[in-house]
Each structure stands twice: as C-alpha cells, then as structure tokens.
C-alpha cells in the first residue's frame, strides 16, 4: 500500500505539531521518522493512524483519501513504545482482539493467533497475562497483535526504546527481517539514528515540525543537505568548525587562525564563492592521527569504546572528535598530528544551515 502525505499540517491550538510535510512512501517500503524529542514525528504517525485529524493537507492510503477515516477503518497495525497491551487479557486474547473486532470466526482466530505467535516465538506464552512477561516478550506480543490482522500499513512508535541494549539489537534484526518477509509498508518512529540507519530503506529526518531531509541512509550520511541532518546522523557526531575558504591559484584552502587545510576543487569552489566564513563539517572517522599529519594538537580526553578509542583533540580553540585504534594507547596530554580526509568534508551556509555542496 502506497502512503502519500501532501502538505500535512497538525496544530494543537497555537502549538505546531508538524507543518507542511510532504512524503511519498512506496508500497512495501520501510521508512523511519528520525528526529529529537518534540520534532513532530509521533504526531505525524498518530495522524497517519487516524488518532489525530490533520489540520491541513491530504493523506492517501493507495488512492484513497483517509483524512477523516476512523482508525478502525484504516486497516493499520501499530506497535507502541509502552507496548499498550491490555493487562486484563491473556496473550491469546490480546493478539486475537483485532480479529474478534473483525468478527473472524473462533476457529480462524485460533489458527491465525497460533500462527503469528509461532512466528514471533511466543507460542508457549499464550495463556499468560502481560504482567507475567518480560519486556522483550511483551514487545513480541505487541508486534504479533499488530501483524495478526494482516494490515496494509504497519506503524512503529519507538518500539525498542524500553528494551535493554542487547535485546534491542536482536529485535532490530527481527523486525527488519519480518518486514522484508511480509512486504508490509512500514513507518518507524525513532530518535535513535542507529536504529533508523540500520533498518530503514529511507529516513525522514525531522526537526521542529519540519522535514529536514528524506533520503536513503547512505545518501543522508554522505551528502547531508542541512547541517542538522549532518549533525544528527552518524555516531559519534560530525565535527563542526567555522572556517573561511580561500581560493589561490586554483587551489582552495579552508582556514582558521590555527588550521589551514587544502580542499579539492569540486568541494572547495562553492564555499569559496560564499561571502564570509562557512561551517565546515568533518566526521570523526575522516580524521586520522598520523605522523605526517598537517595539523598538530593536544589530546584532551580519551574515551575507550572497546573496539576503538574516542579521542577529543584540541587544536587551538577548536575541538575535534576522532576514532583511533586502542592498540595505539593514546594518553591525555599527548601531542599528536592529525591528517584530515578533506574529500569527505561538508560545507554549510551558517545562516540558512543548508549545505553548500548538495541541493
């Protein structure tokens, strides 16, 4: 089922939930809404579910306009952060509830609940009540309940944020696998960019009720269109420095009082033609500690992450996060020289925060 959102706005009195959102989601696609708390992603999801009525704009499921269609008539399944299982019903009754409301026969209900429960690996828990289950099991029940009525669209509202880190990893894989298997159009709200990057076909990055970008994970990572997207996607986050880009003899240099880095012509030309300083962004993995580095700085903090060390290096009044092999055993206070991979550098307009490289 294709989901088309055109110029959607939702306001609560004077408070803007989401404004002028346009998204076209393909059939069978897995889309993540990514953004910090209060960015309007859950509001959008609930509007899609029919809990909120849009203030403005059009939502289509397939060709059908669903703006005023009741939630029960939209044939959607939803998984909530709090699971929202019915505590007074057993697991079986919970999963069977959508079928019961659809007036499916008892025998069919039984078969379909069993089938879904087995897929979710909760076949032996059907007689328990939600209060007797662990968080992960509750999450599977919630997922089973959303899937059992074979919905056209699946909605996820931060379904993994109440689980512990290990379980989150497992469930992430399972949900992605299940979605690909069933081919149900899915919309997944999260504030965890790792979840969004790993699971989604395309990510809609939102901030302050506005859509910042809607693209594939790689595209967002390599060619961020706004400074917000660049900073939000990727972990550890991108380093930002105010630089002025100068052209001299066909070569381009990004400069501050303590830095002078050469930029390739393709990347350097647009910021060089900008009037005034610009924001340069460079990801931690694009900075190396190397003996022949062009910039020297002092290590301020070393945070061991296990596989590698996250190192904060101070260069003049700038601070750069970068990753280094733990084998190198860097210490705070050590003086190091840095090599920047300027082919990966991003440049942003400091006023509009839009990328100077990609439009």
């Amino acid at each position: 089922m294709k989901v088309t959102i055109d110029n959607l706005s939702k306001k609560f009195g004077d408070v803007i939930g989401v404004e002028n959102l346009t998204l076209h989601i393909e059939d069978g696609e897995f889309v993540a809404f990514l953004g910090p708390s209060g960015c309007g992603k859950t509001t959008t999801l609930l509007t899609l579910a029919g809990i909120y009525k849009p203030t403005d704009g059009v939502i289509r499921f397939g060709e059908r306009v669903v703006n005023t269609v009741q939630p029960k008539d939209r044939n959607i399944g939803m998984v909530f952060q709090s699971y929202a299982l019915y505590p007074h019903m057993t697991v079986f009754q919970n999963i069977a509830y959508p079928l019961k409301l659809k007036k499916v026969s008892k025998a069919d209900q039984h078969d379909r609940v069993r089938q879904v429960a087995n897929v979710m690996g909760i076949g032996e828990l059907l007689d328990r009540r939600p209060g007797q289950l662990s968080g992960g099991q509750q999450q599977r029940v919630a997922l089973g309940r959303a899937l059992v009525k074979e919905p056209d669209v699946l909605l996820f509202d931060e379904p993994l944020s109440n689980l512990d880190a290990r379980l989150r990893l497992t469930m992430r894989g399972e949900i992605k696998h299940l979605q690909k298997d069933l081919g149900i159009t899915s919309i997944y709200v999260t504030h965890d960019q790792v979840e969004a990057m790993t699971m989604a076909d395309r990510i809609a990055v939102m901030s302050g009720g506005h859509l910042q970008a809607f693209d594939s994970p790689d595209e967002l990572y390599d060619r961020p269109k706004t400074q917000f997207v660049a900073g939000f996607v990727g972990n550890p986050p991108m380093n930002f420095v105010d630089v002025s880009v100068q052209a001299s003899n066909g070569r381009f240099f990004a400069e501050t009082e303590s830095l002078r880095l050469e930029v390739q012509a393709a990347r350097g030309a647009p910021p060089a033609s900008y009037d005034g300083p610009v924001v340069m962004g460079i990801r931690p993995e694009d900075i190396q500690i190397a003996s022949n580095g062009s910039v020297s700085g002092e290590i301020f903090v070393v945070e061991p992450l296990g596989r590698e060390d996250l190192i904060d290096v101070r260069v003049g009044r700038h601070s750069f996060l970068l990753l280094a092999d733990t084998e190198d055993r860097h210490q705070a206070g050590e003086r190091v020289s840095l090599a920047f991979d300027m082919e990966q550098a991003q440049f942003f307009d400091p006023k509009t925060e839009k990328s100077l490289l990609w439009q």
Binding site: I51, I76, G77, Q81, P87, P130
Partner: protein, 525 residues
C-alpha cells in the same frame, strides 16, 4: 580512598563510645525527661493561658483548650518516663540489669520531681478532694463510722463514731458505692445519709467539703505504676509500638462493636458483661433477634421486610446510578476536550463541599414540585424511594466523578489508541478496554455508594415524613423515640441487623479494596 576511611573511622568511634558510664547515661535520661516535661508544660500553658483566653475573647467556649490542657498535663509524667527509659533501651540486648537500673533510677528521680511539683501546686494526687471528714470501714451491718474529724463536716452534721450508714437518700450503698457517690459530688452538695445508731434509725444531711490532705502514702501506687510503665517501655519491641498506639486509639470502636454483639444476644448487660434477670452472669437469649422478625418491639408493631427492602432499594439504585454516571462523566472529563470542562471540574468540587443539611429545604421544594408532574412524580417525587435515591445520588456524584476521572487519568493514552487502531469503536474501547482496568476504582466507589445509601439517615428521614417509606436507620431512630423505656438490647439487635449486608459486602469485596492500595491497575490481573 583516604577520605572514605576517615569517615568510617569517625563512625566507628561513635559506635565505640557506647556504653557510656552510668552517671553519664543517667544525666542523658534525665535531660530527655526534663525536656519532655518542659515541652508539655509550655503546651499546657499555651492552651490554657494564651490560646484559650484568645478564643474566649471571640466569644468561643474554651472547652477544647481545656481538654488539651488537661491532656498535656495528664500525659506529662508518662512522656517524661518514656524519655528517660528510651535511653535505657540501648542496653536491653546487652545488659538487662544495667538497662533496668538506669530506667528505674531515672523514673524514680523524675517521679520525685513531678510529685514535688504536684505537692507545691495542689495538683494531681495532692489536689483537694471531696470529703465528709470521717473515716469509714465496711462491716456486716453496713458502713461503720470509725472516726470523725473534730469540727469537720460529719461532726457538724451530727454523725458519731459507731454509727452504721446504710443508704444515701433511698439508695442502699456499700463502701465502694459510697465513695463513688462522694467522688462524683461537688463542693457543697448535700448528701442525706440514713444510718443506725444502736437500734435507732436516723437521717442527717452532710455537706461535701474539699480537703487537701496531701498524704504522701498516696504516692506509692503512682510510683509502682510508673515503674511498671517504665519496665514495659524498656522491654517493648520497637516494632510493636505502632500497633499498640493503633489499638489504643481504636479501642472505643472495638469495645463498641463487642458491646453491640454481646448485647444483642443477652437479656441485659453491665458494661461488657451479659447478665440475666437476677444480675448473675449469663442470660443469653435470642429474644432480641426474634422480636425483629416477629415485628413487635416493646409494643411498637412493624414489618421488617418493607423497611429492609426500602434500605436495599435506596442503596442499590444509588450504587447503580452513581457508578454509571460517574464512570462515564469521569471518562469524558479525563479524555475529551469540550467547552466548560475546567469550569465543570471546579464546580463539581465546590458542590462536593456543600453540606447536605444546608440544602434540605430547597431540595424539599424541588421534590415537592417534581411530585406534581404526572407519572414522573410517582417515581422521583416527594415521599418516594426514587426521590430519596435521586437526592442521595446527587450528593454522591461529585466525589464519584472526580474519583473516576482520576482513575481514567492513570490509564495511558496509548492503550486507548491501540484499541482504536485494533478496530474498536470508541464506545467499545471504553467498555472492553478501559472499564476493566478501573475495576478496583469502580468497586471502591460502588462500596462507598452502597454504604452511603444503606446508612442514609438525614435525607430519607426528611423526605419521607409521615409515610410508610422508612429505611433501617430511620426506623432505628423511631424505635428509640417511640418506645419507653427503651430496650437497648433490642435496639442493638436492629443495629447489628442493619450491619449484616455491609459485613457480607466487605467479606467479598475486601480483596479488591486492598488491591487499590497495592498499586492500582498497573499490571494487575
């Protein structure tokens, strides 16, 4: 690391400081006792000397302040002993002799101080006492006068040594009864004594005087009590204290229930002791209960069945309507936005604060007018069970609506959204998903409403004047009004009869009631 060790070291030193030397402990105990005495004295002075007169200025009676003054003075010695004994408690596990020695010595000293204070101030055991100024003893024939104080009240009235007192006015007395009578009289009260001098029957009136004899011998029972009290404090396991306080505070209620139960099954009672016609222990009977069902108490004829049914009807209608309306209104107030919602919320709260009695007359007029409407008037007008139930429901609703709103507020929105998305209508969500989760709340409100309706007195009594419509509480009052002499054992039987449905209700509902306090609906089954 160093700093942490240092902290542990200081702690260790503090622990090692105990036990202190005995005099040190004693000083600490006495200090605690003295502080308690001072605090209570200041409180007593505040009540009687400052707050009381202020109230009096406003024309308010000082009775409450008087009671508070007396209470703080009465509690004074006991609190002082507790203060002293609490120091001794730290040795109960290690050194019992030391604990007792410390507690007793502090108690004796505090007792001496307090007694000295009483002596100086003519208070407590040294307060002036009602007396007839003669010494009496119980003998075979009656109360014998052993000695009279020269020039005292008895001698002035003409009593002599050797007289045998048999009665005060017409009431035969022994020495206990005589002393009780004396202690209840006030200064100057005349007591007309019948007594025998030899064979001669005489009567004389003696006036009660107040004498403060200040006999030190009166202190010994007090001291014994103080020491026993201290010993209990020293050995009382700490976790018993709340229970003892609770039982102490509840004792009037507990004794009351015991009395009601004993009284309904006995001929008559003296205190909690059932007695038969000859004042001997016994006299158990089912007559009191029988009379309820026979329908005749001390000549007042009645039929208990319609009275019972009226009570039941009011209670059941009230429970049903209150639950229905409160839960739906609570849902609306919790989940929906509509104009006037905030006003409605605060307005119901104000309504809840309105005492029913102030509205009796206006409601009376409303019911009277309602009664004039054909058909509806028969159901909810004046002098009908429906009318009474309607008024009772109105008074219960504000509380119910607020209670239900609170319960609905606690159900996460996601639960409701989930049901809507699963395909339920809003009504079905309310009925199948939300109501089961506030079941403890519904039960609690239902019980409140049922008990309220069942025990209702003022409203049924007011709006059913002069008709056959009366419920059990109204009937109970009639019983006391219209029978003379009142047979309290039979009244008690009717009272206990009224309690039976409530007991049954509680036996079945108490698990759910407890459930409310054990964490609401969260994850409950």
């Amino acid at each position: 690391m160093k700093a942490r060790d240092a902290v542990f070291d200081t702690l260790k030193v503090k622990v090692d400081e105990r036990p202190q030397s005995l005099p040190q402990d004693l000083v600490e105990a006495l200090r605690l006792g003295a502080i308690s005495i001072l605090v209570l004295l200041i409180a007593a002075f505040l009540f009687s000397g400052v707050i009381g007169p202020l109230f009096a200025l406003g024309g308010v009676e000082e009775t409450v302040m008087d009671v508070l003054t007396r209470l703080s003075l009465l509690a004074l010695p006991f609190v002082a002993y507790i203060g002293g004994a609490s120091v001794a408690r730290r040795y109960t596990r290690s050194d019992i002799a030391r604990a007792l020695g410390l507690a007793f010595s502090s108690t004796v000293i505090l007792f001496a101080v307090i007694s000295a204070g009483y002596y100086v101030l003519d208070y407590g055991v040294f307060a002036p006492r009602q007396s007839l100024q003669m010494t009496l003893s119980q003998s075979e024939a009656g109360i014998r006068v052993d000695a009279v104080v020269a020039g005292g009240a008895a001698e002035t009235a003409g009593l002599q040594v050797g007289d045998v007192i048999s009665a005060i006015r017409r009431d035969a007395v022994d020495l206990d009864a005589f002393n009780r009578r004396l202690s209840q009289s006030k200064e100057g009260d005349p007591l007309r004594l019948r007594f025998k001098r030899g064979e001669e029957e005489l009567q004389e009136t003696v006036r009660v005087v107040l004498v403060s004899d200040k006999q030190l011998g009166a202190l010994w029972p007090g001291l014994a009590l103080a020491l026993a009290f201290t010993a209990i404090i020293v050995f009382l396991p700490g976790h018993w204290a709340p229970y003892i306080a609770l039982v102490g505070l509840l004792s009037p209620l507990i004794v009351g229930y015991f009395w009601v139960i004993i009284a309904t099954f006995s001929f008559r009672t003296e205190g909690l002791v059932p007695l038969d016609g000859n004042d001997n222990f016994g006299g158990f009977t089912l007559k009191n209960w029988e009379s309820i069902f026979v329908g005749n108490i001390a000549g007042l004829e009645f039929n208990i069945v319609p009275i019972f049914m009226t009570s039941l009807a009011i209670a059941v209608v009230m429970t049903f309507v209150v639950l229905l309306v409160s839960s739906m209104a609570g849902y609306a107030l919790s989940r929906m936005h509509f104009p006037g919602r905030r006003f409605f919320l605060s307005f119901t709260l104000i309504l809840h604060g309105f005492p029913a009695i102030t509205l009796l007359i206006p409601i009376f007029i409303v019911l009277l007018r309602l009664g004039n409407i054909p058909v509806i008037g028969e159901l909810i007008g004046f002098n009908t069970v429906g009318g009474i139930a309607l008024v009772m429901v109105a008074f219960q609703l504000p509380l119910g609506v607020w209670l239900m709103k609170g319960f609905f507020d606690n159900i996460p929105w996601d639960m409701e959204r989930s049901a809507l998305i699963d395909g339920a209508s809003r009504w079905r969500t309310y009925w199948e998903i939300l109501l089961p989760q506030i079941r403890p709340g519904l039960l609690a409100l239902g019980i409140f409403a049922f008990i309220g309706g069942w025990n209702a007195y003022i409203i049924p009594a007011t709006y059913s004047i002069g008709t056959g419509v009366s419920n059990l509480p109204v009937f109970l009052n009639e019983l006391i009004d219209e029978t003379a002499p009142v047979d309290w054992n039979q009244v008690a039987a009717v009272g206990l009869f009224q309690l039976i449905p409530i007991f049954i209700f509680f036996i079945f509902a108490q698990e759910y009631l407890l459930n409310i306090y054990a964490g609401g609906t969260k994850g409950s089954s």
